[in-house]
Amino acid sequence: MVGAMAKLVERTEDNDLVLRAKTQAEALGRLYEMYYERIFRFCVHRLFNKEIAEDVTSAVFLNVARGIRDFAGRSEQDFRYWLYAIAANQANAYIRRTSRRKKLLAEAAGSIRPAAAGSADMSFEPDWPRLYAAILRLKPQHQTIVTLRFFENFSYEQIAQILDAKEATLRVTLHRILNQLRNQLQTVFDGEI
């Protein structure tokens, strides 16, 4: 009961923070502290290069600084969805430039540590560049869905909010994405893209 009350209070405070962040730098600074790591992590998972992820994270928060006064949302949840939507758009914009795909692919190989030794289920262990190559072949929006679902562990409902999509459609889309990835992993070779 106490825990539930504490959560309620915390959520209310976060909502107030969003409202205040429209006019107060201190509140915006607190939101930044709450979300910097999450957005940076999302960008790394989306772009697999920490330097690029820093650039995109910078673009995300600078956009927030410029746009928060016009942000129509009122709650912390609205803010979170807005923030991830900006991050997804920024990352997609980056990836859309085909000339950078090869670089991303090359970087991906170097940014992944080996999987933990003695992992339980080793039935499927693609090398990361191959998996990332396959992911990069997806539409940018589909790449975002994969990142949000599998790297950020968002629920379908949350992803639907971020991407302004229907939950049922998302489920179907993800099913198709996985089929597509499965097919691509059987045919994609390093350097193909």
Binding site: N15, V44, R69, N89, R113, F150, L163
Partner: protein, 442 residues
Amino acid sequence: MFKDEADFEKVVGRLNVDTEPNQAHRENLRRQMLSVFNQAEQEPSTRIIVFRTLRRLIMKSPITKIATAAAIIIAVSIGIHYLGGSIDGASVAWSQVVEQISSHTKYKCRQRVVREQGPQIPTMQVYHLNLQQRRQEVEDGTIHIIDMRGADAITVELYPADKKATVTKLIGFGPRKDPHITEMVKQFEQESTEKLGTKKVNGKILQGFRHKPTENSDFTVWVDPVTKLPVEIEIKHLNRGQTLFLDEFEFDFKLDPSAFSTDVPDGYEVKTVVQDYRPVEPKQISPEDLRTGLSHTAYTVEKLAWMEKLITMQITDPLMGMGKAYVIGIQSDDGNSIIIVQGDYYEEERMVWIPKEKLVMETPSGAKLYTHPNGSEYARLFLEGFAKANPEFFSMENLSEERFTRMIVMPDRTILSLSANKQMSDEKLQQIVESLKEIKAN
């Protein structure tokens, strides 16, 4: 090979990706972000006020009002600065278009809005003399002139058929930049501006670019590859079911400067409206001051037995940080501080969200009370504003976690806000709302 979603999740889970942030980047970005936020402090709120003003003062007819609303949506959609660059292989690079637009602040165009539902919007010719002066010629014959160069911005509505004019003076508004559509378009990010290929219009080949800053906004710009200037701009607002078309562009048009004069031609019956944006001196005011200060019905509170102190004041609007708010402060015999806020911004058109909130009470006289989604924060802001203006009435040291806000919609659709520092019984809430009386002249 992975079999299903759960299987794929395991695969991803085994990837060991280094996501440890760089503290130096984190701190630098924080500083940079807050600096951008502070620098942008004036501009966005200004932009909103400009549009509010245009909407309120220029577009009084329901039809033209919607036209302005379309522009508001554009402004809100493009509240982001972007960078330039070049598009590989395109005959015209977006950066070249941006460069050309930047050197042409004087232009005219035709503006059309097509809505999927509801009343259609008249077409108008819009002349931008510069970033601070604009003339709009609406197809119904109305002319609007906007001049935001001086300390007091001026807008003029001319109705030539009736020989009537409305002049609105925005005192203390300060020099402002007109929220210009081409100014917004040129801020599109090179990277996310998609090349559309070409199309032929009236024998002329145009190069297309597309930019989709949000899920609900979709911009298409067609430029002349020779001049590298826009020929057509199409802005879709998907969630609102309307599309704005700008065409018939003419850059560096010829028009007599007197067309942008805010002097009303001879023979017009002139109505003058003044909106005061100067800093407000907090002071106690009379109900009559409150009535004359508002452009809609004003209310006062009839003192009830449990009210120990009642005071009416004008204060700087705590939400806007400028302009005026009228506040009736009440101290109750159980130590509660209650404030009822009235202001011109509490207009029905802008408060359409209220009926979507929870209805908590309907009084016998037909007033309705709704919750406010950020009631606690609004109560804090108003109590703080009132505490600054009158420290004897309320001290922020006594701010309570019980504070709340209710939006009151009166039977005549006037909207007021009630904030209290502590919880109130329904009985007292109803009594206070029923004690609201319209202030009539004399």
